[in-house]
Symmetry: C2
Subunit: 334 residues, 2 copies
DNA sequence: TGAAGGGCATCATACGTATGACGTGACGGA
DNA sequence: TCCGTCACGTCATACGTATGATGCCCTTCA
C-alpha cells in the first residue's frame, strides 16, 4: 500500500479520489488556488493528498518548470571539514531563496564521458577549490561561480586574500626571528595552492636572509607526517613551517614530536583555514583564518545573482593571521 | 550560442540538424542502436551532438525511465570527516552499478513541510547516524538502509559492533588499573550514541570498583574542550576518558593540557572512529576503529539489493580497539 | 428578461526523452 | 512475379506536472 515503487501516487490519483481534475490538485498543492478553487475542495484535496501520501514527482515538476531549484556544490573531497563549512554558508543562503544545495565530491581525475556530468538536475554550480577547467566541465554552460579559485576567463569568483594572509604569516615568523621556513604544500592541483606557494616564495624572497623550502605533502595526515618527519631530520632544519591546512599542521606537530622537537620552542607551526580543531590542538594553533562559511555564503549569493542576470562582481574575502600559541622565536642557534 | 539557458539543445535539435528523427538520436546516444541504425548515421549523429553540445535533459530522462540512477546519503553534518569516508565507500560501489550518490546533510531539526523532502530525485536512501524516524521521513517509502543505526521495525541496517568495541576499550582501561572513567558523550540524538552510552554503563558496571561518569558534550571542539576542562577540574577527577569521536578526544587533550595534565601519564584518552588524524595526534590516539568506508560500501550494497528485491540482511561490522599511545596506567594515587 | 460578473473548476497542452510497434525499400530465392 | 528477410529508420505515445485559455452556473442589477 505504501512501499510499492518510488513516488507512485500521482496527482491524477489524488484527483480521482477527490473527484476533481488533476489540474485542480496541482493548483492546490502549489498554493496557487486563491480565487480559483473553493475552500471546501481545497481542504478535501489537501486531506486526501496527505492521507494517500502524495509526493509530487520531482522529475516531472522540473521538466515542466524548466528549473530544478537546486545548486550543486562541487568540492575536491568530503574528508576535510572546511568544505562542510562552505556548504553550511551556501545552504543557508540557498534556503532563503528556495534553493536546495547538493554536494558533489569530485573524487579525483575522473574520466566521465561527454554526457555524464552532474547526474542530478541543477540550475547552477559552485566549484570550490577546483581547477577552472574542471569547473567548466562540470557546469556545462550553467551559471558557475568559482570558490577559492580565480578565473582567467571572467567567471565570477569568490576568493581569499591569500597574499595578505601569507604575508602576515611570514611577516610574523620573520619578526620572531625565523629565517629558515618550510612551506608544507598540499599536493593537489588547485589555484588556491598555487597562489599560496607563489605568495610564500614572494614573501620569503623580499625578506633579507630568509630562506624558504617547499615540501609537497599528501593531504592524508599520516603520509604528510612521514614526509615532514624526513624533511625535519635534515640539517640545517627549518625553524618554522607554514602549512596549507590545519590538518597538515597537526601532522607537523606529530612529526616534530617524533623527532623530540617541541612546538613552538623548537619549531613554530602555522596552519591555514582556522578549523574548529585549531583552537584545541596542543599548543593551540596559529593559523591563517579563512571563513568557509563566508565563502559559501557569498558564492551562493553570486550564483543567484548570475542566474537572475544581475551583475556579478568577483569578491575577495579577508585572510588574516590568528595568532595562538604555536609560534615563538626560533631556538638559539648555539 | 552556448550559455543561453540550461540544457537548451535537445535531442530534437540534434535530429533536425542531422536529418533524422528524435528517436534515432535517442537510440544513438544511449548506445541502443545496434541493428537499427547504420554506421554512417551513428557517426554523424554523435559528431553533431558533440559539436552542438547536446546534453540529455536529466529530468525528462528520469521521468521517462522511472528511475533516477542516484542514491542519497543523508548525514548529520559535513564537518566530520568520518562521513566523508562513508561517502567514499558507498560511491565506489554505486559507481560500479551505474548509480550516482548525492550527499544530503540533514542540518538539524528542520521543519520541512510535507512535500519537501530530498528535493532531488533519488531511488533510495542511505541514512547515516540518523534517527530511524528521520530516516523514514526522508526516504518516504523509497528503499532505505540505516547506517550506524539499528531499526526497531525491520529496516535493513549496517551497524558496528559497538558493544564489543566499548568492551575492549573499558577492558583495556581496567586492565591498566583505571577505576574512574569519563564517557565524553556526543550531544546528538542518534542510535549509535545511545548504544555507546549503554555499552559504557554496562561495561563499567560489570567491573568491580569501576566508576563511570557521563559527560554530554557538543561535537564542536572548543565547546567540548571547555566542558571537559570543567569536569576534569573536579576532585576526584577521572583518570581516563572514552570519547565518542576522535575530535572529541583531541578536545580532551586540549582540556588536559590547560590543566597541566599530561596524556597519557595523568589522563588516558580513547577516541572513536580512527580517523586519519588519530594516527598523528600527540600522543597518537588509542581509539575504537570504525570503518566508515566499509559502512558505506555495505550500505550501498544493501540498498541495491533492496531495490532489486533481493534479501537484505542487516550486517554488523567489527569495532575493535586500536591501541596507540594515549593510554597508560593511571597516576599513582599517592 | 437579459446581460454582466463572480466563483469554481476543467481542458488541453508542452516540457524532452525512451521505446515498442510499425513502415519502407532493396535484394534474393523460389 | 511474389513473398520473405534484412537493413535502416520513423511514429506515436507515455512519463507526471503546471498553467493559460475556457466553460458553466448562479447571482445581481438594469
Amino acid at each position: 500500500m505504501t512501499t510499492d515503487r518510488a513516488s507512485r501516487v500521482t496527482a491524477a490519483d489524488v484527483a480521482r479520489v477527490a473527484g476533481v481534475s488533476q489540474s485542480t490538485v496541482s493548483l492546490v498543492v502549489n498554493d496557487r488556488w486563491h480565487g480559483r478553487v473553493g475552500q471546501a475542495a481545497v481542504e478535501r484535496i489537501l486531506d486526501i493528498a496527505e492521507r494517500m501520501g502524495y509526493r509530487p514527482n520531482v522529475a516531472a515538476r522540473i521538466l515542466r518548470r524548466g528549473v530544478t531549484g537546486a545548486i550543486a556544490l562541487a568540492v575536491p573531497t568530503l574528508t576535510n571539514p572546511f568544505f562542510g563549512t562552505v556548504h553550511g554558508g551556501a545552504a543557508r543562503v540557498g534556503e532563503a531563496h528556495g534553493l536546495g544545495l547538493t554536494v558533489f565530491p569530485v573524487t579525483s581525475d575522473d574520466d566521465h564521458g561527454p554526457f555524464t556530468s552532474p547526474h542530478q538536475a541543477i540550475d547552477g554550480v559552485l566549484a570550490c577549490s577546483l581547477s577552472e577547467q574542471k569547473a567548466r566541465e562540470l557546469s556545462a554552460g550553467l551559471p558557475l561561480v568559482l570558490l577559492d579559485a580565480a578565473s582567467e576567463t571572467g567567471v565570477p569568483s569568490v576568493t581569499f586574500d591569500l597574499d595578505r594572509g601569507v604575508a602576515e604569516a611570514i611577516g610574523h615568523l620573520y619578526a620572531l626571528g625565523h629565517r629558515r621556513v618550510l612551506h608544507v604544500r598540499g599536493d593537489r592541483d588547485a589555484w588556491t595552492l598555487h597562489r599560496r606557494a607563489a605568495a610564500f616564495d614572494n614573501q620569503v624572497a623580499r625578506r633579507p636572509g630568509m630562506l624558504g623550502t617547499e615540501l609537497r605533502c599528501s593531504f592524508h595526515p599520516p603520509e604528510a607526517a612521514e614526509t615532514v618527519r624526513v624533511e625535519l631530520a635534515r640539517h640545517p632544519r627549518p625553524t618554522a613551517a607554514l602549512c596549507d591546512d590545519d590538518n597538515l599542521a597537526v601532522a607537523v606537530y606529530s612529526a616534530a614530536a617524533r623527532l623530540g622537537l617541541a612546538v613552538p620552542h623548537d619549531l613554530s607551526v602555522i596552519g591555514t583555514d582556522d578549523l574548529p580543531v585549531a583552537a584545541v590542538t596542543t599548543p593551540p594553533l596559529t593559523t591563517i583564518g579563512l571563513s568557509g562559511h563566508e565563502l559559501g555564503r557569498l558564492g551562493m549569493q553570486a550564483c543567484i545573482d548570475l542566474r537572475d542576470g544581475r551583475p556579478t562582481p568577483s569578491v575577495i574575502l579577508p585572510a588574516s593571521l590568528r595568532i595562538r600559541a604555536s609560534t615563538a622565536p626560533p631556538p638559539q642557534p648555539g
